[in-house]
């Protein structure tokens, strides 16, 4: 979740809690105050009524305020006085309105009376509602405006951060670039940008060094290897060598050959990563390349009794022609090498993808791991373990997508663009 969204969410939740709790508390306290006031008035009325009842014969009747009502009911025995809230029909407005009643008993002239004083609460209730609503509204408005201000401000202040993040996201080590930023007003972001710039500078330099080293080392290895191989070949012609010496020599020769091929493959990988093979603008038609390769590999295909099925449209992808050759070659040889006896290969080429599907053994590895260098299915095979790494690198450099899927005995490698 985005940082700002998270902050906003916390703020929102806190504001809501504060708003509801505050409003509730406010309502309760105002209501308590109003209730206390109403009760006080009722008790004052009670005192007045009592006093009046005792002096019924001597004083003029003046008891209650307007809107209040008084009921006198003769009863046999007195009960406990109590207070209750009730709705009564207001005849003037013809609707039920809330009243608070105080019921008590008083004896007058030897007769017990149940006296009910009713006090209209409507106005107070209205007042309560108005006050609580108004205050709540003001607070809510305040909170909302604070939230809005906050999110707007954050959005503004965090902008440099997102810019830096975006650039880092786009950063590609293979392009040897250093990230540069404009000066920011916020000190922290300025520091961050500076750190990022320095970091990418160091990365670019280290990467460049590594590439150069790999390339130089690979170059320098070729000549001694050529010497080794030529000396071994000279020795092979020596007829005085015994059989066991020849066998030993043969394995030395095999190892040297292997080293040579490995070196070439690594060199090629480095060159591709260094973007020494830049794609043109026109797509390279893969059909002739695939057909040519299938012809080259015919021996292998026939020997392993593999049947090939092609379904191709005359299309291709934008890529350096040499890389297209390597891509096709590696995918096809991979499909042959890891195939089973009497296996099948299905080659599909469409407007937006090229896929090679082959039968093979079940895999223990996660298929994506086979894209890693020197990752092999088995240690027995003579493969260098660089074939798919090369394909992967080619796809990465040219912006194509490479996918490896396994469905039971079917292995599918798809390049899409």
């Amino acid at each position: 979740m985005r940082l700002l969204l998270r902050i906003l969410r916390y703020q929102l939740v806190t504001s809501m809690i504060v708003l509801f709790l505050g409003a509730g508390l406010f309502y309760v306290s105002v209501r308590y105050l109003i209730d206390r006031e109403a009760n006080k008035e009722l008790f004052q009325s009670q005192v007045k009524v009592r006093w009046q009842l005792r002096h019924l014969d001597t004083l003029p009747v003046y008891i209650l305020q307007l809107g209040d009502s008084l009921q006198l009911q003769p009863v046999q025995y007195p009960g406990r006085p109590f207070m209750r809230e009730t709705s009564m029909l207001n005849l003037a407005e013809n609707e039920y309105q809330p009243y608070r009643q105080l019921v008590f008993y008083e004896r007058s002239l030897g007769q017990w009376y149940k006296i009910t004083i009713s006090k209209m609460l409507l106005q107070r209730q209205r007042l309560l509602e108005t006050v609580v609503m108004t205050i709540t509204f003001i607070v809510a408005l305040l909170l909302v405006s604070l939230l809005l201000l906050n999110s707007w401000l954050s959005e503004r202040l965090w902008k440099p951060f997102y810019k830096t993040l975006g650039k880092l996201d786009q950063y590609q080590i293979q392009q040897h670039e250093t990230l540069e930023f404009k000066k920011e007003e916020t000190l922290e972001f300025d520091q961050l940008n500076l750190a990022v710039t320095q970091l990418t500078e160091r990365i670019a330099a280290a990467y460049q060094n590594l590439k150069e080293f790999t390339e130089n080392a690979s170059h320098e290895i070729q000549t001694p290897l050529a010497v080794i191989l030529s000396k071994i070949e000279g020795l092979f012609q020596d007829e005085t060598l015994t059989e066991s010496q020849l066998v030993t020599l043969s394995s030395v020769s095999e190892a040297a050959n292997r080293l040579g091929r490995l070196n070439q493959a690594l060199l090629l990988l480095t060159k591709i990563e260094n973007r020494q093979f830049l794609a043109g603008t026109d797509p390279v038609n893969l059909v002739p390349i695939i057909n040519g390769k299938l012809q080259d590999l015919e021996d292998l295909i026939v020997q392993r009794k593999i049947s090939i099925q092609t379904d191709m449209e005359s299309v291709g992808l934008v890529i350096h022609p040499a890389l297209a050759e390597i891509l096709v070659n590696n995918l096809l040889t991979n499909a042959i090498r890891h195939n089973v006896e009497n296996g099948k290969i299905i080659i599909t080429l469409r407007e937006r993808f090229f896929s090679v599907k082959n039968t093979g053994k079940m895999l223990n590895l996660n298929p994506e791991q086979l894209f890693e260098r020197f990752r092999k299915e088995s240690t027995v095979s003579a493969s260098l373990g660089l074939g798919l790494a090369l394909v992967k690198t080619i796809c990465e450099v040219n912006g194509q997508n490479l996918k490896y899927e396994i469905d039971h005995e079917w292995h599918t490698l798809t390049v899409s663009w």
Partner: protein
């Protein structure tokens, strides 16, 4: 036949010289750009092998000089650089072939012979070995006048074997000659065995003696004895 080898690595140069001396070639050696230019200007060679990375100059300049001075000399570039651009530049300058280090001497030998054949006889020179007769231009192979139909691989194999007659050829070098960069596909060398078997059978069916001898643990040798 006279060869000039321009190569700064002494050990490699010695091996190459030894190899071609057995082939009854005269193989001269120039270890730097200066002496190479000197030799080019004085003598005439059938084929020149140039390492384009020399300590005191670009071998490609030697190729240019050679083309100017003596255009009919065959040129094979041997280089540790194998980038496409280098290959294209080398071939554009007029070299006949480009071989990347490390290579098999037998491969170099086969290519040198092909270049000399092309240069000197426009490819029309017949290749003869015992009872076998080959006309490279037509890809025609015959044993005592009877034509033999060979597949492309079998033909390439035969030419390679004859080019390196009386020498032990390793299975790797044969595989690399026939399949190039795909050679590492051969998990085992059954493929070579299949081709060898087929070629041998086709030759012997027409009454050709078995010239091919397998050398235990190493490879094969093609010879008349």
């Amino acid at each position: 036949m006279k060869l000039l080898l321009i190569e700064d690595e002494k050990a490699l140069a010695t091996s190459i010289q030894n190899y071609f001396q057995r082939e009854n070639f005269i193989c001269e050696w120039a270890s730097d750009y200066e002496s190479a230019i000197e030799k080019i200007n004085i003598y005439k060679y059938d084929c020149v092998l140039v390492d384009i990375m020399l300590p005191d100059g670009d071998g490609l300049n030697a190729v240019r000089e050679l083309k100017r001075k003596n255009p009919e000399t065959g040129i094979i570039i041997i280089s540790a650089k194998n980038s496409l651009d280098d290959r294209i530049e080398g071939l554009n300058l007029g070299s006949d072939d480009y071989l990347t280090k490390p290579f098999h001497l037998s491969e170099l030998n086969a290519r040198v012979q092909a270049v000399i054949r092309r240069r000197n006889f426009q490819g029309n020179q017949q290749i003869r070995f015992g009872k076998i007769n080959i006309e490279p231009q037509e890809h025609f192979v015959a044993v005592e006048g009877q034509e033999i139909i060979l597949t492309r691989k079998e033909y390439d194999l035969l030419i390679y074997l004859i080019a390196n007659k009386n020498r032990v050829l390793t299975k790797e070098s044969i595989a690399e000659h026939l399949w190039g960069d795909d050679a590492d596909l051969m998990d085992n060398f059954d493929f070579i065995y299949t081709h060898i078997k087929n070629l041998r059978k086709k030759l012997m069916d027409k009454g050709c003696p078995d010239y091919l001898r397998s050398i235990y643990g190493v490879g094969y040798k093609f010879s008349e004895q």
